[in-house]
Structures are given as structure tokens and as C-alpha cells.
């Protein structure tokens, strides 16, 4: 359950950002989570509700935008979606691909008053 530690980081960053903006209320926090980031969105949601209690984040919405993983084939340079880490290049069948997105764990934006 490393989602708990990750959620604590989300809460820390969101509250620091809100304070910097002198926000009175936080409506939502939007995350970009790569499909291969190793994080389970449902678990983040669960932890978020627990971690945001009694803070400016309480009652705010956690919006998770999933980023599809993509790789570039080392042999033929074709870019293709990686549904899992074992997918092969659809053009040449090579298993050697370099992941260039899909591991994101970012806070994208927030809605505040």
C-alpha cells in the first residue's frame, strides 16, 4: 500500500500550493497517473478521502487522468501503446522498446477559491 505515502505527498503539495495562492477553498485536485506508474487509482482515491480530513482539502474532488503508456521501438522506431510491459512492437515484433510516457505521477492542476 505505497498509495498511502503517495497520497500524503499529494496532500502536502496541494496544501502548500493552496497556501501560496491564499485559497479559502479547494474544489478539486487533478492528477496525471501513468498506466505503468505502479499506482492503483482506486487506492489513491480511498487514501485521499482519509488523508484530506480536517484540512482545506476535505470534501474536495480528486480527479485522476490516466496517461496511456507508449514505447518507441529500438529496432524500427515505431511508437506504439504499451498495454503492459510485455507488449511487442506491432510493426516489426521486436520486444525491445523504450518507454517514453506512462510512468507519470503528477499533480496537474487544482480548482480553488
Amino acid at each position: 500500500m505505497h498509495e498511502l505515502g503517495i497520497t500524503q505527498s499529494i496532500v502536502e503539495i496541494a496544501l502548500r500550493t493552496a497556501e501560496g495562492q491564499q485559497a479559502k477553498k479547494i474544489h478539486s485536485v487533478t492528477l496525471e497517473i501513468g498506466s505503468l506508474s505502479g499506482v492503483v487509482p482506486e487506492a489513491l482515491q480511498f487514501c485521499y478521502d482519509a488523508c484530506s480530513k480536517e484540512s482545506l482539502l476535505e470534501g474536495s474532488r480528486l480527479i485522476i487522468e490516466e496517461v496511456e503508456a507508449k514505447a518507441r521501438c529500438r529496432d524500427c522506431a515505431v511508437e506504439y501503446p504499451l498495454t503492459d510491459l510485455l507488449a511487442c512492437c506491432p510493426a516489426c515484433g521486436s520486444a525491445a522498446g523504450d518507454l517514453f510516457c506512462g510512468e507519470e505521477l503528477r499533480i496537474k492542476e487544482m480548482e480553488i477559491d
Binding site: M1, H2, G5, I6, S9, I10, E12, I13, A14, T17, Q21, A23, H27, L31, L36, S37, G38, V39, R74, D84, L85, L86, A95, A96, L105, R106, I107, K108, E109, M110, E111, I112, D113
Partner: protein, 239 residues
């Protein structure tokens, strides 16, 4: 009908201030990554080669350390950070080798993070240190996401587990530059296909370096030791 006041007018506002949307664009693990970068800079400055050992519980991380330390401590100055949820059992085992060791208990935590490692380093004399071994919490999932500042992650897999572990836990094997297949002295007694295991690891992580070893019989350890000597030497020169 307006849902707020019940009047007949459908679209009217009740003095709401429009919400402000602000861009944050910050990595959630940025703090861990910053602390890991600080650890990495310290290792570089002091010429310390460091490994982060990861595996399921019971694959033989502590046995590997005991054996490696016993065989190489006369030529390499080691220190060990032990990560477990509870107990100092592993640190006590390492302490019998005479190598400096510090136990980190993570409590409910399922992995070590860069902050814990940074503080763990305070227990060692870095000036004389050549190699730091970090034994992570036994877990093939969570430690993959947390950089500790190490040079390499090393995944251990023992032949009493399934040879398909690299396929089942691809994140970890992709993050590891090295895979050690441990307990090969048991191969005659278990159904474990080493060739398949190598193929699976190679699929998840093309170019992964694999050592087949037994900490019990000592088989294969010479190649692992040669690799350690080489890497410690390279780091020492850079530091």
C-alpha cells in the same frame, strides 16, 4: 426550476465566485526524488558504490549479504542498511560479520524511501566507506517506485519461487539492472526452469544482467564478486 432556491427561473446564479483553476505540474514523488538525488550526490562525492536489494520475503537477501560480507570484507569496506517493518533480527545477523549495520523499521510502511536512507547514513563513517548495501523491505511491488539514490537496484529471485516472477512483477524487474537467481543448489529438487526465467526477465528488461548463485553452496558467487569489485573500483576512481 432552480435547484438552489426553487424559483421558476432555470439558469441564474446565486452570487458564486467563479472557481480559479491553477496549474501545479509537480511530480508527486518530487520530494523523494530530491532526497534521493542528495543521497546520490553524497555517494558520488565519497566514492561509495551502493546497491538497493529487492525481492519477495525469503528469497535470501540477508543470506546473500552475510555470505558476500564474510567473503569480501577483507578487501572492501562495507556498511549495511537493513529495512524491515519490524524487528532488528536482520541487523543482528549482519552484525555478527563485524560490518557496520543500521536497522530501519518502517512500521506499517512497505518500502524504504530516500529520507529514511539519508538519515540511516548518519550512522556510518562515510570517509572510509566503499560500498553500501541497502536491503529493502521484502516486497516486489512498492520499492520499485522509490529511488533511494543507489547506483543499481538488484532483484533477487530464488528457485523455490516461480520462474514467471519477472512477468508477474514487471515493474520491479524493469527497474532492476541486475537479477540474481538464488538457491540454485536446490534446482534438482524443484520445478524451476532457469532458461525460461532468463527469457522472461529479458522480455521485461532487455539487457538485464543475470547471475545464477547459491549462497549455500557458493556456486556462481565468484562472478557476482568480480562484478562488485569492478563496480566498487570504478566508483572509487570517480569519487
Amino acid at each position: 426550476m432552480c435547484v438552489d432556491c426553487g424559483c421558476a427561473e432555470p439558469d441564474h446564479h446565486h452570487g458564486e465566485v467563479p472557481r480559479k483553476r491553477i496549474s501545479v505540474e509537480e511530480d508527486i514523488l518530487a520530494k523523494n526524488d530530491r532526497l534521493a538525488a542528495a543521497n546520490r550526490a553524497l555517494f558520488a562525492e565519497q566514492g561509495v558504490f551502493s546497491l538497493n536489494l529487492v525481492s519477495s520475503p525469503g528469497s535470501g537477501k540477508t543470506s546473500l549479504l552475510e555470505k558476500t560480507l564474510a567473503d569480501l570484507k577483507s578487501e572492501i569496506n562495507f556498511a549495511v542498511l537493513e529495512g524491515d517493518q519490524q524487528t532488528a533480527n536482520d541487523a543482528e545477523r549482519i552484525a555478527t560479520t563485524g560490518v557496520p549495520v543500521h536497522q530501519i523499521n518502517t512500521g506499517a510502511g512497505c518500502h524504504l524511501d530516500a529520507h529514511m536512507v539519508g538519515h540511516g547514513l548518519e550512522h556510518f563513517d562515510l570517509d572510509s566507506l566503499q560500498m553500501l548495501m541497502i536491503e529493502n523491505v521484502g516486497n516486489l511491488v512498492c520499492p520499485a517506485s522509490f529511488d533511494l539514490g543507489e547506483d543499481f537496484k538488484v532483484s533477487l529471485l530464488s528457485v523455490t519461487e516461480g520462474e514467471d516472477k519477472p512477468l508477474k512483477y514487471p515493474q520491479m524487474f524493469r527497474a532492476s539492472e541486475i537479477m540474481l537467481v538464488n538457491k540454485i543448489d536446490l534446482l534438482p529438487y524443484v520445478r524451476f526452469d532457469v532458461a525460461k526465467c532468463r527469457e522472461y526477465a529479458e522480455r521485461v528488461h532487455p539487457g538485464i544482467r543475470i547471475f545464477e548463485i547459491s549462497c549455500y553452496s557458493g556456486e556462481g558467487l565468484d562472478r557476482w564478486y568480480d562484478w562488485l569489485r569492478e563496480k566498487v573500483g570504478e566508483k572509487r576512481t570517480k569519487g
